[in-house]
Symmetry: D2
Subunit: 356 residues, 4 copies
């Protein structure tokens, strides 16, 4: 458990700091013989990319992935897929201040405590830049799942206290992907974008929530008792930067529900009338849409002066600068999809192994 | 990932169905030379045990653990600790109905789909009875952590819409453990117990929430980027039966917060003035109390007639009977503590490995 | 890596000391729906059992396995199979001497150094008694493999300098199992048995070698580059008590061979004319018989007085007593088969997972 | 178990085919704060490099490693070390023949069978070129171990039937590294080099053996019962290309020994008079030198015409060409050291975790 690997049969290992030469990863266990759609991979990277719209960070990174192995004549060979993404935005000149000061609610303090040394430029290993590698791996997993008619749709359902409470249908993806916020409502998109712009003017940030719905999942995915399907999905989501919570189906709302309201009654085709279970019962998929939510805290970097301490535990003032996101969720949508895809593909293969 | 093991350096593997001969487990990686307090282990088992109070299931199980290995002259030897707990309440006579019908929102349907066969008596492997094994392992881990002044306190903070919103202090544990609900307020205890009694009269059930606070955790625990401390805590909690969600620190509430409210400012002793981070920043403990919440759905077994289907997907009626919990959280408190203890001990040893 | 688990998709975890209450284990990942033949399991346990013939230890252990979970109506359910084997021969009275003295070439010294405490009765955790658990798990794996026409035959090929150099055919199994040594030659069986009896009279012991041939293995098993099929077979064999070496196909003999002699030329049915590769090329099975050898050292317990040291590093004399094996290989044959079966089944399932 | 990762606390994952853009890897778990000696890493790469002497393949590869992460100001940061080595010798023009024909005793056939597709250029993923990544990781591990006075010396002890049978002393390393064969005897070096040159003239190849001695290992390393120290060393060695066997201490020679000869008697300083145990008893290091041997088969590529089959299982003739090694062991010495170093460092950290 050295910490930078995820998955069992399909396994992603990543490396890289935000201001090193490159980030990258190795994807093991992708079955052989699949033709990769490179445009689709780049498309997901672009959905995560800085500078993609007016309400995200304006840093410039082209985020072009270079594949180094595991692909031959455009097809996967079953061997590990190694890849790198170069870091272009490596301005490290202005980090002398950060070298000494711990930014509040960042990982500066904890990395220093844990390792006794840290790459203080842009968060180093703790930077969300690492998630670009997850998007590459997830985009490949999504393509393979798509061939099995498994579809993964994440979208923003909340920014601040603005919340979308509609019923999800896959057709809504067109709407959610057409606005900067990635919310499945044109009206809310405008409201949320205005809120984010306002927050940014104050040099402040705001939290957000992402929901993800996975359809076409066969019954039987998930390994009880510790490696339940939602257990691994939860682990996957909680590993994403800035995530503070995960729930599925009725989630935290189930606390105030009665069993008689909450039970999902079967119909005679084996589906259920309601889906409070979020597609998972006893840790195993039941064929209904898998449905979960992920809570993201407000970004810790503010364009405001904050009190903090330095490495000698002396009080200092720190003025945030740079080009950071006022709200992280619009760019986090493809990351959620990527991690979900890796989990589902892993369990899909696992199920094949154990099936008679 | 066969699914019944949890942890890396400290690893629990469990076996057993609710109506088999026995359940049990193997705990690997417990350091050598610790004197075990067997009473403390039994005490935690008793906190989880059926029949312990008027508001839990009245099934009778003595839940006595028998240790088979790994202990010599009362001390751990560093070798695997094998143990069993016999199943006493093995009435399997009345399961002919269950043999055919899938109980709504249980794991009957998904186990049948996944395995093509299931032990239908009392939920079989999907029964929460398995968690008794976790309590045994967790009680050992808690004892070792206690010697390092790490303390784990879980308690009920919500039942239905009754919610405790006070500030946690370790002194409150005496109160929470003194009432049947395990909530740190005598007044709320009465209200919640009344609510649960009422719900039970209706043959219904109600959801609940548990919060857990861990103090004395040194800085530096957690392995970025996938095996963050909260990632593994989340996985641990989500693996518990009936759990629908996990969040830590500000959790889902952070969605509607601004960064300027949410950032935890440092004081010159390295602690923070607030603890929205829940003791974890960038996946690594920062020395503040670790603080998380777990959402439990209402128990699916109702003492009411419900519509469902049988193995041939025909509509049938099913009348719940037996002695089930109207609300699961009072008995789930020691399970949450147990899983938390296993995670913290695992990461504690991990940290020792990597420290210079 | 707490050390008492083996395998990935099929995973055995064992516990138990030779003189504790019981040994046992948990087998995860056995596919659902298989009807177990209990007699076959007991048969393999009996092949490993003390007292089975005149040339093995005369300790009395009935080695009856009790299954506690994972089986319903005689069929596997896909959930973990927990089992125990009671220790009957628990005479611990005479261990005061051992409590202080380290037996030469045993694990007494290293366990004491590692753990600072040890169960000194009969070797504790380091006793070969643990391998009975492997035989249980392996017997189950063998039954499943047999349904896929995969057959595992181990036999003794060498005792001291007496060596069988014939060509293996599965028919020889009848011969090897009909004599006490388990060598596929009636003549050599007599010679070897005589040698072992003579060695025992001297209070001495002798080494031996086991060869294992696995037929019916489909092509494609094995995961390059670190988890090659022979890599995992090697790990499995080297984990058995008293094993000092492992080679496959031409093995150590290949050192003095030329490539032009050693290359296995293909025939037009995809098989090879020779099998110096031992059924594995590039870590992946090629469909030819898998063929490997395992070297066992002479048992360290002698019925002779030996010089040694005690816990205070003082020179002491130690007189071996008890009922130990003069040569370990006759009883080790089913252990080799068991570990081989676990590896092959694990990789068989793995292959199913990755196959298109 | 996707196959391209090795280790637990220290974990190497590699990627890359011989004729892709680059090979590389990710090393997780290297403790923070170590100053790396890059020259030492390159030195080990040079010891493995083609073209280093007259008796190895004359392919030209500069094998320069580029580190991409995990190092800051020349020191390790505790985060994953990502690295690449470019493939310079990418002549793929002449592979049309290989595209169809399976080279005898290579992995062509098995990769094709397993994956249904293969990068046929130069062996693709099955090429020993992958081991350059192991040398990089191992060189880092060796440096860290050196600071703890743990020293790893591998050398050639046999080529064909020429065998060195002397007693190893660390001073002999100077001799073994001064000759092209890497044997610790100047006389044998001449004989072996002559043999290899002769073999090469015939277009043939010859097998060889490497021995490895590790000194300064503290007592207590190794995790019984499956993850014994020699178990993992064996796995590590068997994963190296062309390896057919592994034994330690007395190894296969122990088969014909008596216990009274073989037992390692203690002296009053806790060491043993002999070292037939090879530094490991019961799977745990005893403080004596760890001592093991690795058998390498003759290289399968011959500069001779051979009968084989093509993808349609038709008989074809194949004429080996190119610049291959007549004997693999001189270049394999640093690979053996590298893998040994990774195992020892992993278990060293593990031991720290479990120590009180």
């Amino acid at each position: 458990m050295a910490g930078s690997s995820f998955g069992t049969l399909v396994r992603l290992t990543t490396f890289g700091e935000s201001h090193g030469k490159a980030i990258g990863g190795i994807i093991e266990g992708i079955p052989a013989g699949f033709s990769l759609d490179y445009n689709q991979i780049q498309h997901d990277l672009d959905r995560r990319k800085p500078g993609q719209s007016a309400i995200v960070t304006q840093r410039k990174e082209s985020d072009k992935v270079q594949f180094l192995s595991g692909i031959f004549d455009g097809k996967t060979t079953g061997t590990p897929i190694g890849f790198t993404i170069e870091n272009e935005d490596q301005k490290s000149a202005d980090y002398t201040e950060l070298q000494k000061a711990f930014r509040p609610s960042h990982a500066d303090f904890t990395y220093q405590q844990k390792y006794g040394i840290r790459d203080y430029r842009g968060g180093g290993r703790s930077s969300a830049r690492e998630t670009a590698c997850r998007v590459v791996a997830g985009a490949i997993a999504k393509q393979i799942l798509a061939q099995k008619n498994i579809r993964i749709d994440a979208f923003v359902y909340q920014v601040g206290s603005l919340k979308w409470t509609g019923e999800w249908k896959s057709e809504l993806k067109t709407i959610s992907e057409a606005n900067n916020v990635r919310v499945p409502s044109e009206e809310l998109a405008v409201e949320m974008e205005n809120l984010i712009r306002e927050i940014r003017k104050e040099g402040d940030t705001i939290g957000g929530g992402i929901r993800c719905v996975i359809t076409g999942v066969p019954t039987g995915l998930g390994e009880p008792v510790f490696d339940k399907l939602h257990t691994e999905l939860g682990k996957a989501m909680l590993s994403i930067n800035a995530v503070k919570g995960f729930d599925f189906g009725s989630g935290f709302d189930s606390i105030s529900m009665k069993g008689s309201e909450h039970n999902d009654l079967f119909t005679t085709d084996g589906t259920t009338k309601t889906n409070f279970s979020g597609g998972i019962q006893g840790g195993i998929s039941n064929g209904m849409p898998i449905d979960f939510r992920v809570a993201f805290k407000p970004v810790a970097t503010l364009i405001q002066e904050q009190d903090t301490i330095n490495e000698d535990f002396e009080a200092v003032k720190l003025m945030g600068k740079g080009r950071h996101d006022p709200c992280v969720v619009p760019r986090a949508v493809p990351i959620v999809e990527a991690m979900a895809a890796l989990v589902i593909l892993d369990y899909y293969l696992m199920q094949k192994a154990y099936k008679k």
